[in-house]
């Protein structure tokens, strides 16, 4: 299990969530083991023992997350933060704020939620059954609070809410950090198209998934990807990492004559509906930050749908030519299955507070490029709005 601990330590670093010297990763099987010595492990060990969980990650996140989280935690009057993106609404519910590294307070709050933030900007995430679970929560908290800070900052600039302190500096720093990685990125999928055999399709998925993470568009668990080859949909499994898809792609006959897709991405039904409705053969879905942020900006503060925009917004909204649609995750009432297949065309579609779907008829080059362009344009559009 030392390998798993090391793996997610490296992911925290490579995905620019933490600096290399900061994270403490604890894993408990028969004994509790830490990735390094620290004066904080004694307190965290007590927390792990009280909670009875398998894993914990504690770290000051890397900038700009650190400043954003510290700011949000410091100025929040309640003892929790409640971002309104899909990630929080569906999986985190809310994010508790702890005053400091106190066993009693941490235990009490982590008995209720998967993770929390401290006033100093650090993040603690637990994993009931493994380090991966703690990593996903850590990553989700950073993502959700990045989105919340930037949304709040927009409303502050529009004089629709008041933010104290040096928020502009933090926002500028956040944008610069993001741009520094995303804008110079110039790798594109090279897999040949059209696919000649199943292995070609799978290899193309693996390459595009990996580039989506490497580019900084998303952290590894935020998205899914598929292609249609000879009446079979090849799709990433639920909860798989976009940068580690080898062995985690389900082949699902498009006529549903086999039920292998029970472990496919929760968006399988949306992917299948797109293939059945439109002449596409590849779909890429990710949660790039500024597309998500842009989709959530709306000046109609007194709108009766406020708070339930993700399912009830009745406006036809766009980011340039890209439609912004509503829909919850999955399948059923008010889900994106009802909106995305209908509206996806051209470069793609943005789902409110959630992410971007791009789809095309010529493999992954075009749709990866579209995802990258949409995110860059959302970033620039956001900058135009706030600066």
């Amino acid at each position: 299990m030392a390998g798993v601990k090391e793996k997610y330590l490296q992911k925290l670093i490579s995905q620019r969530l933490c600096n290399s010297t900061d994270p403490l990763v604890g894993f408990l099987d028969a004994d509790l083991q830490w990735n390094r010595e620290s004066d904080k492990t004694e307190i965290l060990s007590q927390v792990v023992n009280s909670l009875g969980v398998s894993a914990i990650i504690y770290s000051i996140p890397r900038e700009p997350y650190k400043s954003m989280i510290k700011y949000l935690a410091s100025y929040e009057e309640k003892d929790f933060l409640k971002p309104e993106d899909t990630e929080t609404r569906t999986f985190l519910h809310d994010i508790p704020i702890a005053q400091n590294l106190n066993v009693g307070e941490l235990t009490q709050k982590l008995k209720k939620r998967k993770g929390l933030v401290l006033k100093d900007g650090s993040v603690i995430a637990q994993g009931a059954i493994g380090v991966e679970q703690a990593f996903v929560t850590f990553s989700s908290i950073c993502f959700s609070l990045f989105v919340k800070f930037m949304c709040d900052f927009y409303y502050h600039r529009k004089n629709l809410m008041k933010m104290e302190g040096e928020v502009e500096e933090i926002a500028k720093k956040a944008i610069k950090c993001y741009e520094d990685h995303l804008l110079p990125f110039d790798k594109m999928p090279q897999s040949p198209y059209p696919f000649e055999k199943e292995d070609d399709a799978i290899a193309a998925i693996i390459e595009a998934g990996s580039l989506t993470v490497e580019s900084g568009l998303v952290d590894s668990f935020f998205g899914n990807i598929s292609c249609l080859f000879e009446n079979t949909i090849y799709i990433s499994q639920t909860g798989s990492s976009l940068d580690e898809l080898e062995g985690y792609i389900d082949p699902c006959p498009i006529d549903n004559s086999k039920t292998n897709a029970i472990t496919a991405s929760s968006e399988f039904s949306t992917h299948r509906a797109i293939y059945l409705k439109k002449k596409f053969n590849a779909i890429l879905h990710g949660h790039p930050k500024f597309s998500v942020i842009y989709s959530m900006l709306c000046d109609k503060i007194n709108c009766p749908n406020r708070g339930k925009c993700h399912i009830s917004c009745s406006d036809r909204r766009f980011m340039k030519d890209v439609p912004i649609v509503t829909g919850e995750v999955g399948r059923g009432k008010n889900t994106l299955l009802q909106t995305v297949p209908e509206y996806i065309s051209g470069r793609g579609v943005i789902v409110f507070g959630h992410g971007v779907f791009t789809a095309g008829g010529s493999g992954f080059y075009e749709i990866f490029r579209n995802l990258l362009e949409i995110e860059k344009e959302a970033l620039w559009a956001y900058k135009d709005l706030v600066f």
């Binding site: 519910h93 008995k111 059954i129 897709a261 029970i262 059923g332």
Partner: protein, 576 residues
Amino acid sequence: MPHSNKSYGWTGKILLIDLCTQKYEVIRPEENIYKSFLGGRGLCSYYMREIKNLMPSEIPLLFFPGALTGTKIPFAVKTIISSISPLTKTFFTSAVGGFFGWHLRKAGWDGIIITGKSQNQIGLTVKDENVSFFDCNDLKNKKASDIFHKLKPEGSAAITSIAADNGVAFSNIIIDKYFFAGRGGLGLVMANKGLKAIEVYGSCDIAVHDSENLSKGIEDSMRLVSASPSLMGELGFTEFGTSALYDLIFSRNIMPAKNFAGRSFPEAEHLNAWNFKNKYPWEKTGCPNCPILCKRISSEGLLPEYNSMAHFSSLIDNRDIDIVMEANRLCNETGMDTISAASAIACYRELKYKDHSIDIIQLLKEIAFASGEGKLLIKGSSEFSKKLSSPESSMNVKGLDLPAFDPRGAYGFSLAYATSTRGGCYLQAYPLSHEILRKPIATDRFSFEGKARITKLNEDMNAAMDSLGLCRFSVNAFGLEECAKLLNAVTGEDFTAGDLMNCGERIFYNERIINYTLGFDSKDDDLPERFFESENAINRDDFLKARANYYLIRGLSPEGKPLETKTRELKLKWLE
């Protein structure tokens, strides 16, 4: 109309029935018992120990709905039925859906404890506060559908059928025709008490402390349910029931074939859910308030669930889809557990017919009526194989035949089977969620690393879920974090997810103590030799190391025995 004179959520009353005298008492548990054991499975283990302390020779039969059963919460429908299993000789709990617990709680009861034995076949009626008995002598050896037709219960009914009447050790209790309290032979316990049927009807609502927060909690939980591909996906349980697992488990090389001799069954693609759907067009049905409705019914009867499909095909090398359907229907009508029935046939084929084909349907009928060759199998594969001096041919743990997940293809199942308090069962540790369905995260199914703790934690979590009355499918979407919010809204208490885990740990350990008093320890927490000796075998040293880690984490001795310090830490009674 809410119940009077009770706290929110719990009704505060348990019905204690003595079948010898046909009289009853009302037990009013102290508040701390509810807070420590919650309901359902927790209260079953609590009262089993209480009764065994008072009346060591008594084998009570307990019916306890979960603490949330009867509310409008999706998945909160389960009743736990419990006793000492005639098949495994362990403490045994079986979670069953349908309307039984729903009505029992609405009638104002948190559970029923049945003691004693009636000389004649009788039925019990619980209608709100009123309790009465009725004659059932004319129901012997009647099939289940005929009994339900005759009873026409106003609310819900639990019955036994032909197999229980004839002493089959793996006979079920059947609820509302389509829901089965299976595996451990609790139907035989009920039959041995002379109790043929229980009818319940409740007309009151469960009092809810905070309706607004309950609605919010349900909304949060349902969002996660919608996002779960295994539950709500178009190829998930909501469309295909658990038969959706058939292709997946086969493609992962986990489906056992020929009595676990291997995992190759080339005909699998012709017997999958899709083929059943085409051959037997179905409609969905299920428990009250369920968003999934996992049961599927056709004009030919209930469609088989995954374990029944796999065991009546691959395990017994049957390639005929109609025989799978008929075998399943026959088991349901006669009240036999499909896993144990198929396992008995698989063992019988291996030992007596050397894998030549046999008339499966005829043999099942003979088992149910304890006639012909079937009489050899009524005590299950374990007893049968021992009589033929070939115990290695029965694929069981603690006498409970293994379900259709070969642990050589997913190591978490090996620990789950070994440590379950029921015997060879995956539902307590539920490795299916993380090793196969990738929830809440995926784990390496060919590794024991971390599995000891995961097994322990999942056992605790699921013990709590069973005590709340939540269907096991719910863990494919949400966890105790969401459950605590729901429980607090219903009861007005202040449980956290951690508190519920502590309850789960206490409940599981209590069951472990009961089993210890019944003579079980590490010698029984083991797997059939076949898994350690065959192709792609599990490394026995690795398994034993993981099991030793489990004992350490669980707070048991190296021999798997409960410890006094841990027992007292969990605020349980130590052995007298």
